[in-house]
Subunit: 136 residues, 6 copies
C-alpha cells in the first residue's frame, strides 16, 4: 500500500455563529470568529489516496487526475466563496473546519474509488497554526 | 543602518468591486474576487524599520515593542474583519492589497518615528503567491 | 472521529550530556550538542486532539481553548528557558526531544480529556530537519 | 514507542515514459512528464524511525547517525543523478515517486534495524504540492 | 510607487558543463552539477513589478494578468523541459541560474511595460537554499 | 549586476542582559530574553553577494564556494555555541541579532571580495517572525 498526497488551495469567507445562542454566548464561544460581516482564510487542502501502484504507470493514481478532481469537486465549489451563504451543503450548519473536511470527504470518496484506489485522508489548514484531518 | 523586520498576521474578508463598473465589467476585471458575498485571506504582514542600534540594548527597536505596535495599530483594526464593511478608512475605496499597505503605512509611520527609528517597508502577503510592498 | 491540530512554539536552550559518560564518550555520542555552555533551538510544537464535533459549535475542541492550554501548560514552562537548569521535571534526565515530548504529553493529557476529547499526538520540531512524535 | 523523523534532500532528473505505450499514449498518461530530454525536481526526503529511547542518551536513534545513513544509502545514489539513466535499481522500471520510495525503503530497512529501532515511514516530496508515503 | 510580486514555478533539468574545459576542470568547478545525464530542480520564480495603483481597480497590475503573462512567457518555455537541450535561447550558454534570470527578464520586460507598469525584479530559487535576483 | 543568495543555519544559545542595568531594568527592557540561564534559537543566515557573471561558468560566485565560506567563517564559530560565553568577538557586547549581523559582515567581507564579487547583504532570522538585515 502506497499513499499519495496532493495539495490544492482555496480562499473563502466564513463566520462561526449559532442562531440558537444569544449574542453574548456566540461571542463567548466563537470570539472574533462570530463577526457578523464575516472574515476569511487561505485554506490549504491536502488529499491523501492509497492503493497499489499500477506497474504500467508507477502510479497509485495519476497526480494530475487527482488535482483535476480536487479542483472540480472542491475548489470550484469553495474558492472565493462565502461558506455560510454560497454553499448549499453548509446551509443551517456550523461551518467549522471540522464540518468542512467531512463534506469534502463526501464530495470526493466515490470519485476517487472510481480510479481504483481509496480515499485515505482529507486534511485542511485554516491557518498555518490550525489544521483538521478526517479519515472517514 | 540596520533593518529589523517583524511578522504579524490577520485573517479578513474582502471583495473587489467597483460600483462605477457594470456587473459585466466587474467580473471581467476582478473575476472571482468580485463575489457579492465576499471571500477572505490569511494576510501575513511584515513591517521593516531601520536605524542605528542603541549600544545599551543592541536594538534598532525592541522587537517586542514593534510587535505590540503592529497588533494595536493594524491587527486590532483588521483581524477577523470585513475590509469593505468594518474599516472606516476603506469606505468608498477599492480594498486591494496595494491600497491596504498604504493605509497600514499611515497608521504606523509616526508611531515608529516616536521610537527613534524609521519605517522602511510594509510588505503584505495576500496569499503565499502574491505580495505587495510599499516604501512610503 | 475528527483530528484537530494546533501549533505553538517556544525558544529554549539545552545541552545533551550524560554525567555517567567520560568527556570523550559524551563528545562521541552527542557531538556539538554536548557543548558545556549550552546551545538552543526554536521549537515548534504541534498538539493533535481527536473526538466527535459538538453539533452546536462544530468543534472537536475550541482551537482557542487548545491554544491557551498549550501556552499555560507547556509554553510558560519552557519558553525562553534552559531545559537542563530551569525545568524541575528534567532534572537528572537526558533532555532529548524524545524525552521532552513525553513530558509534554504528561502535562496535557488530563487537561485535554477534561474538554471531552482525547490527546492523540505530541509532535515537536527541534529544527526544520528533525522532529519527534509521541502517541501515548 | 517514540517516532523520530529526519529530513534530507536531493536534486535529480527523471522522465515518465513507458516503452510499451505509443508516443500518443505516453503523452496522454504522463503529459509533460514524458519529455524525451527529461525534467527534474528538488526531492525532499523524510525518514521516520520508531523505537524506545535509550535511557543513557534519550535517543530512539541518534539523529546524526540517521542523517549519515540517509546520505550514504540514498543521497549519494540519487543526488544530482538522472533517475532513469544513472541508477541500476530503476532500470526498466517506471521511475514514479511511488517506485522511488519503495526502493529507498529497501536501501534503508536493514541498516536501521541494526541500530536497534524500526523503519516506520519513507515520505518523499516531488514538489511542494505532491508527496508519497510508504510504510513497508 | 507600489511593488507587486507574483510567484509561479516550473520543474526542469539542466547540467553545468563548459565544453572549453577538460573533464577534470568541469568536475572541479561544477562538481556534481556537471553530471553528463543531467539533474533537475523545482524552480520557484518571483516576478516584481512596480507602478502607481489605478484608482478604478486599486491595482498596480492585475495579479491574474501577471500570472498569465508569467505562465505564457516563462513557464510554457521552461516547465518540464531540459534547459540545455530544449530552449533555443540557452544554446551554447552556461545554464546557471544567473543566466536564466537575465533571459526571463528579456522575455518579460516589454510585455509588462505594455500594462502601464515596470518590471522591477526577477528572483529565481534553484533550491530553498540558493536564489538569484536581477534588477535589469 | 546579479545578486546571488545562499542560506545556511546554526543553532545557538544567548541571553540579552546589560550589566549596567538593574535586574528590574533588564526585565523591563529584555523580558524573558534576560533569563540568567540562557535560551536559544535556530538561526537562519542568508548571505547575498553581487557581481557580474563569469561567462565561462555563468556564476557571480560559485554557490558551493559561498556555502563553504559561510560554514568556515560563520557556522563553525557560532553553531551549537553560547553567543555570550563562547565567542570572543561578543565579549562585553549586547548579543542582539543587530550586533550579530554586523559581526558576520566583518568575518565575510574581505573573503568574498577575494572571489571577485561584493558582499551585498547579511540577513539573519532569529525566529520565523523576526529577522535583521545589514548592507554594510
Amino acid at each position: 500500500m502506497i499513499y499519495l498526497t496532493r495539495k490544492e488551495h482555496f480562499n473563502a469567507a466564513h463566520r462561526l455563529y449559532n442562531p440558537k445562542f444569544t449574542e453574548q454566548q456566540n461571542l463567548g464561544v466563537f470570539g472574533k470568529c462570530a463577526n457578523y460581516n464575516f472574515h476569511g482564510h487561505n485554506f490549504d487542502l491536502f488529499v491523501t489516496v492509497k492503493g497499489t501502484p499500477n506497474p504500467d504507470t508507477g502510479f497509485v493514481m495519476n497526480a494530475q487526475t487527482l488535482s483535476k478532481l480536487m479542483k472540480k469537486e472542491v475548489v470550484e465549489r469553495l474558492d472565493h466563496k462565502n461558506l455560510n451563504l454560497d454553499v448549499p451543503e453548509f446551509e443551517n450548519k456550523m461551518v467549522s473546519t471540522e464540518i468542512v473536511v467531512q463534506q469534502i470527504w463526501n464530495w470526493l470518496e466515490t470519485k476517487i474509488n472510481a480510479h481504483g484506489c481509496y480515499l485515505h485522508c482529507v486534511k485542511l489548514y485554516e491557518t498555518e497554526n490550525i489544521y483538521v484531518e478526517y479519515f472517514g
